[in-house]
Amino acid sequence: MNSKTRTELLYVVVVLVVLMAAAGLNIVYVLGHESNIATAKDPSTVPAGSTVINVTGYQWAWQFTYPNGTSSTDVLWVHVNTEYTFQVISKDVIHDLLIPALGLQVYAVPGHPNQVSFSVNKVGSYIFECVEYCGEDHYLMRGTMEVLS
């Protein structure tokens, strides 16, 4: 084997090692991925001890209804270190609720409630917004999540 062949082989091997390492990590990631992802609403899959908050998206605001019957618009009140479950529905067109600080995103679809669980471990005020263009005042569908101790 002359030195040119060896160099060529080394090129191939080095590139293959990098690509295989990337592919291997991706497979581990995809197979082991069990983070909370929004699914169709199903009361039997609500985690035990989780507080259900009903979320309604409409043109152009978000309404949150809590278990005690009270509700708030464009502001979400939650407690720190408590597990909550959103059940999200839309009154008119498709909306999409995103809370960037939680990495939480769930579609609000008319006639198809979605469900997702989350909890917050830091007191503060965080933004949420609609990230599915839904009409002329789409930009108004935003608010803050207030995390109380």
Binding site: S3, T7, V14
Partner: protein, 82 residues
């Protein structure tokens, strides 16, 4: 090893170091941004994947650009393939 082989091996080592550094920088930045479930566990899962991507990017840039920068025609006549 020949020079060219040493060079490529050093590209690999440099990109692995960049990937490891990127892993820790990403961890720090994610810890500033994410404040709960699912953000924190999801970002911890994504951290090595993104770091690998950054390392692959570093390797590709070194691998592709080095010969061009080193041996490319540096006069300003005609088309410059850089």
């Amino acid at each position: 090893m020949q020079n060219i082989e040493k060079l490529i091996t050093s590209f690999l080592i440099i990109s692995i170091v960049i990937g490891i550094v990127a892993y820790f920088i990403l961890g720090f930045l994610f810890s500033l941004h994410f404040i709960g479930v699912p953000g924190v566990p999801a970002s911890q899962e994504a951290q090595p994947i993104i770091a690998t991507g950054i390392a692959a990017m570093a390797f590709t840039i070194l691998f592709m650009m080095y010969p061009v920068v080193k041996f490319g025609v540096k006069n300003d006549e005609g088309d410059d393939f850089r």
